[in-house]
């Protein structure tokens, strides 16, 4: 029985006894103190008996530790029937000698007190039950019934002290339940005797929604979570939902998933969201949040991956119809089993039931993407802090599973756009904001990336247009004056085009004019050249004529000379 856990120090650490109850072992860091009694207190109907029963049954089923359930309020048959709905076959465990049940009934009216007595009978019965199965765990539910049944409180108190001592001496890990008292943890001050570990269960109604909570009031010798943790009872029994049990050690992925809108992928560093990231799309009513969510769901399914869609406002049929109008055939994916809708009103049950439902569906369906539309509706069933805590757990859970999650958040008319109502934006990895822009008698959608952790994302606004063939993002007109969208953008674009056209035209005219001028100049140039050529030709002719004359003159001169010498020269001339 003595298992030393990591005996690094010489002082033995307190050994824990796992309850097997989901979450409880996490907040108690391993379970209840082994070999010691634990007091579980709370008002009627808060789940004390269930906790005690689960402690015993799970001890047998999951840990192979036989147990004894000593009931002072319900018969063994009643108890077995009550927990059968949770899938516990108590009768079978009793048959297999793994569990012993004893119902201790005391009827005050049947009992007459005459002189000294003690509760050795109870000890004998308990010992017999413990020995019959070799029990290591004991549940006493609820010992306080003795106070109503036995006349002498003094004897009872002494005997209870002896009982808890006895349990400790035998090394039994015990769960003792006690009804909440007015000003004390228990009505009869059981906390006086059980000082090792005290759990407090609470069941309160806020805004007409009942919420269960569990708190570890005291745990001697051990670290433990001190908060009140939401607790729920479903068909698997009790589970405690520790907010931060998962810590912040998620597997991170470098892979990306498409947003379903090509240009949005581009805005997010070219590849879309990170796989396993949490995405928030916030905006006012009618800004197209659901359409963006549907685009993501559609793309996820197109890639053959499963998508789980929680809608808190619209029925699946309505979403399918509406999204068909912008070109997303969600019904097709639904039929192929890739898309599953879960449409419930948030007010149907409390936050932790929602959380449990989400856990269960995610475990069953194993989606790669989860859409919750819109999370702001959760506000109707809880306080801001609670909703935030719940969403933290949802995000933690989904991230832990590597599931990409997309949440839409409706921003109220009055509040600032960049403030997500539930205050969860800090939990998100990527935050897209869709807003309406009013100008020139129109409302147009604008989309921009508020933040996107770990990627280079666009800082630009895009006009976000819903058309028959899906979602498209168009560059807005960023002119000198303003950002223009919608028809104002179209008009501005037309105007720009006209101006460009006009400018183009005048350019052509100028071109032609220049061509003409050049042509005429060329013509002039050729006529001048012709004249030059003529002049040159004339000058050559003139030069030749001059030379011939000179030659003639030379010749005549020589003839003359000859003639001067003789008459021959004259006759020659």
């Amino acid at each position: 029985m003595v298992k030393t856990r990591k005996a690094t120090s010489s002082v033995p650490r307190l050994e824990k006894c796992p309850t097997g109850i989901a979450g409880l072992d996490e907040i108690t860091e391993g379970g209840l103190p082994r070999g010691r009694p634990t007091l579980v207190c709370g008002a009627a109907g808060c789940g004390k008996t269930l906790l005690a029963m689960e402690f015993i049954v799970r001890g047998i089923v999951e840990r192979g530790e036989p147990g004894v359930f000593l009931s002072f309020e319900e018969t063994a048959e009643e108890l077995a029937k009550n927990v059968a709905s949770l899938g516990f076959d108590v009768d079978d465990l009793v048959r297999r000698k793994k569990m012993a049940m004893d119902y201790v009934r005391i009827e005050r009216s049947e009992i007459q007190e005459t002189g000294e007595y003690d509760l050795e009978g109870l000890f004998v019965r308990l010992a017999a039950a413990v020995d019959s199965v070799g029990a290591k765990r004991v549940a006493l539910d609820s010992v306080e019934a003795l106070f109503a049944g036995l006349p002498s409180e003094a004897i009872l108190r002494a005997e209870l002290r002896r009982l808890f001592r006895w349990l400790k001496d035998r090394g039994l890990t015990a769960v003792i339940t006690g009804e909440k008292g007015d000003n004390a943890l228990t009505r009869h001050g059981l906390e006086e005797y059980v000082s090792d570990c005290i759990l407090f269960l609470d069941h309160r109604v806020i805004n007409q929604v009942a919420t269960r909570r569990l708190r570890v009031i005291k745990y001697r010798g051990s670290k433990h979570g001190t908060n009140e943790y939401p607790t729920l009872i479903d068909e698997h029994g009790l589970s405690v939902l520790p907010i931060s049990s998962l810590g912040l050690s998620f597997p991170v992925s470098q892979k990306r998933v498409s947003t379903g809108v090509p240009r949005l992928d581009t805005m997010l560093g070219g590849h879309g969201y990170y796989l396993g990231a949490s995405v928030l799309i916030s905006g006012m009513a009618g800004t197209g949040k659901t359409s963006l969510a549907a685009a993501f769901a559609d793309d996820t399914c197109r890639g053959g991956r499963r998508c789980l869609y929680f809608s808190f406002e619209e029925s699946p049929e309505q979403i399918v119809r509406n999204m068909r109008s912008i070109g997303f055939d969600l019904e097709n994916w639904r039929k192929k089993g890739l898309l599953r809708f879960c449409s419930v009103r948030p007010t149907l049950y409390g936050l932790e039931m929602h959380l449990a439902a989400i856990h269960k569906l995610v475990r069953d369906f194993e989606p790669r993407a989860v859409v919750m539309d819109p999370i702001t509706n959760m506000m109707s069933i809880g306080q801001i802090d609670e909703v935030k805590a719940m969403l933290t757990r949802v995000i933690d859970f989904l991230k832990g599973q590597g599931i990409t999650s997309l949440f839409t958040s409706l921003t109220g008319g009055g509040s600032s756009l960049e403030q997500s109502e539930v205050g969860i934006s800090s939990l998100m990895d990527t935050w897209l904001l869709v807003r309406m822009m009013e100008s020139a008698g129109e409302r147009n959608r604008l989309l921009y990336v508020m933040k996107s952790r770990g990627m280079a994302h666009s800082n630009q606004m895009r006009e976000f247009v819903l058309a028959d063939d899906g979602i498209s993002l168009i560059d807005v007109y960023v002119g000198p004056g303003d950002v223009l969208t919608g028809s104002a953008r179209l008009m501005q674009e037309a105007k720009d085009q006209a101006e460009a056209l006009a400018a183009g035209r005048s350019e052509q005219a100028r071109q032609r004019e220049l061509e003409r001028e050049a042509a005429s100049l060329e013509a002039q140039a050729s006529s001048i050249a012709a004249r030059l050529a003529a002049i040159e030709a004339e000058r050559r002719l003139a030069r030749e004529a001059g030379r011939e004359r000179q030659e003639q003159a030379e010749k005549e001169k020589r003839g003359l000379a000859a003639a001067r010498k003789a008459d021959r020269a004259r006759s020659q001339a």
Partner: protein, 105 residues
């Protein structure tokens, strides 16, 4: 033992009284209870009673049947209805009341 009709509001003459005394070991308290019981029976139920002493340390399984918590416990099995008296039976008046041998005040 000759029947003497000295009981104020006695039981029916031929009624059989079946009494069980549960103890846990031969403690002083157990012995006192048995002595007290025998004395009362002799006085009020001569010849009509049968006392069975059950030691729970020897037969722990028997504690369940009669819903025994405290010891000593005296259980009146017969006549019906079942009555239980806890303690060492030192207060004779209370024992008589508890056994319906004396009207409750």
């Amino acid at each position: 033992m000759s029947p003497k009709k000295t009981i104020q509001k006695g039981p029916e003459a031929n009624e059989r009284w079946d009494l069980r005394l549960y103890v846990a070991g031969q403690t002083a308290r157990a012995l006192a209870a048995f002595a007290n019981l025998q004395k009362i029976c002799e006085e009020h139920l001569p010849g009509q009673y049968h006392i069975e002493v059950i030691d729970l340390l020897k037969h722990p399984q028997l504690a369940k049947g009669d819903q025994i918590l405290a010891v000593p416990t005296l259980v009146r099995k017969l006549p019906e209805p079942v009555r239980k008296i806890i303690g060492n039976l030192s207060d004779t008046e209370k024992v008589l009341v508890g056994l319906d041998l004396r009207p409750r005040s």
